[in-house]
């Protein structure tokens, strides 16, 4: 490390703390930025700075947005009667890209995980309950991931929400488009059979 300038080492350190980036990739990115010149590095640094300065957490749906309330919550055209609950902000983007959902969202920022000590209190569940208690919501669509933790979170939410007299639904589970039936696991196939529908 003696041949390496301090500034280079500092950036490599910083980058390698990012998820999915090891020390090798961090070095490659750092030397790329050196070669690319001051302009590119400044643009990136500025984008990083404005990330926190120019975003807020929507006080209604807890999504990350530019304004509070966010564009979705503030949109009068969207139905406030249906709330779609997702684990992460990126899940909102994915569902928005389908163009087939006209309700609003609620972002939990994670899922229940006993091993990581993430329980209901660490997720934005109290905020959801407060929204529901205001009384205009008729359906909660639970769109957590179809994983063990996502399912655990869904069950927890269902038990919390159903007593309020609100319909709780879960996104359909089954075969993925473009997949091959013979590679489907037992649980997925069983769910696809249970969730079959008339054509």
């Amino acid at each position: 490390m003696t041949a390496m300038p301090k500034a280079v080492g500092r950036l490599i350190d910083g980058l390698s703390r990012l998820p999915g980036i090891g020390p090798k990739t961090a070095s490659r990115l750092t030397y790329y930025l050196l070669r690319a010149g001051q302009g590119e590095a400044e643009a990136l640094a500025e984008a990083m700075l404005s990330l926190h300065q120019e975003t807020v957490l929507c006080s209604v749906c807890c999504n990350i947005s530019e304004a509070d309330p966010c564009a979705v919550c503030g949109d009068q055209q969207r139905s406030q009667e249906t709330i779609c609950v997702v684990e992460e902000p990126l899940d909102v983007v994915a569902i928005e890209n389908t163009g087939s959902y006209k309700g609003v969202y609620h972002v939990l920022h994670g899922h229940i995980s006993p091993m990581e000590r993430i329980g209901p209190d660490e997720l934005r569940i109290q905020q959801l309950v407060k929204r529901l208690e205001r009384g205009s919501v008729t359906e909660v669509i639970v769109a957590t991931n179809p994983t063990l933790e996502g399912d655990a979170t869904a069950i927890y939410l269902a038990r919390l929400v159903q007593p309020l007299g609100i319909r709780v639904t879960r996104l359909a589970l089954g075969l993925p488009r473009g997949g091959d039936l013979e590679y489907a696991d037992r649980m997925t196939l069983a769910e696809a059979i249970a969730g079959r529908r008339q054509i």
């Binding site: 998820p19 999915g20 090891g22 229940i112 995980s113 006993p114 091993m115 990581e116 000590r117 329980g119 209901p120 209190d121 994983t147 063990l148 933790e149 399912d151 655990a152 069950i155 927890y156 038990r159 993925p176 488009r177 473009g178 997949g179 091959d180 590679y183 489907a184 696991d185 037992r186 649980m187 997925t188």
Partner: protein, 261 residues
């Protein structure tokens, strides 16, 4: 330990972490030890491996040696432990078992007995009724395999044979104290006769015999408190899943009466 470039093994997914665009880093427990492996593209819905390598799945996997991490090339689920899905309490107990194994077993240490114990525990937590009983069996068996098993048959202070009576338990020495030594040791806790009896039974009988046990709620509470205190002392930390379990219980007790809540 050197291993072939491509190898096949049975494995249980102990923990997982998202990585990169659509990959996941998995901590697998295999009979040959813990392995940290990379499962490429597993978060895509069309991944052929996704439904076979979920958390706590037991699966047959093919691994190829990579530069830093071994890479999953094939996976076939043997048991998804479906009982853990749709049941928060069962899920929490399974998490507890995985956390304990992860803490007790050093990376790469070969230990087929721990593997067998974990698969047994996951099956039990997915299907048995008395979850607390299996949690205690699992704790005692794991402590035994790790060389930390508490002593219930001889006084840990003077070596005298433990007779049914007012014996105490000392977490620091890891076992029961006879009625003569007990009062001399600061911090030693009294243990009811019923609890002493069940602990000795759990430490000396096999699965089939233990499955027949019916245990009173008060005994369950005392056993759990005692073993958790001992585990916390041995591991020098509080387990995340037990803290979670305690918190979950107050909510669950409304509808999970008597089942380990």
């Amino acid at each position: 330990m050197p291993r072939p470039r491509v190898y096949r093994t049975e494995a249980v997914v102990l923990r997982q972490q998202d990585y990169g665009e659509a990959d996941r880093i998995l901590t697998l427990l295999t009979p040959g030890g813990k392995r940290t492996v990379l499962a490429r593209g597993i978060r895509r819905p069309t991944s052929r491996r996704a439904g076979h390598l979920g958390l706590f799945h037991r699966a047959e996997v093919m691994l190829a040696q990579g530069r830093q991490l071994d890479i999953v090339t094939q996976a076939e689920s043997l048991d998804a432990h479906e009982g853990l899905w749709h049941d928060l309490l069962r899920f929490t107990y399974a998490s507890y078992a995985a956390e304990l194994v992860d803490l007790f077993l050093p990376e790469e240490e070969e230990n087929p007995a721990v593997y067998d114990l974990l698969t047994l525990a996951l099956e039990a937590f997915a299907s048995e009724d008395d979850l607390r009983l299996w949690a205690r069996y699992f704790e005692l068996s794991l402590l035994q395999l790790a060389g930390f098993h508490p002593e219930f048959f001889q006084c840990v202070n003077c070596g005298a044979t433990i007779e049914p009576g007012p014996n105490r338990f000392d977490v620091t020495q890891g076992g029961l104290l006879c009625p003569r030594c007990g009062p001399e040791v600061a911090g030693a806790r009294t243990v009811s006769l019923g609890t002493q009896k069940v602990l000795r039974y759990l430490a000396s009988h096999d699965r089939e015999a233990i499955a027949q046990l019916g245990i009173r709620d008060a005994t369950h509470r005392e056993m759990e408190e005692l073993l958790h205190a001992f585990l916390q002392y041995t591991l020098e930390r509080e387990l995340k899943s037990t803290a979670f379990l305690r918190r979950l219980r107050s909510e669950l007790s409304m509808y999970e009466k008597g089942r380990g809540a």
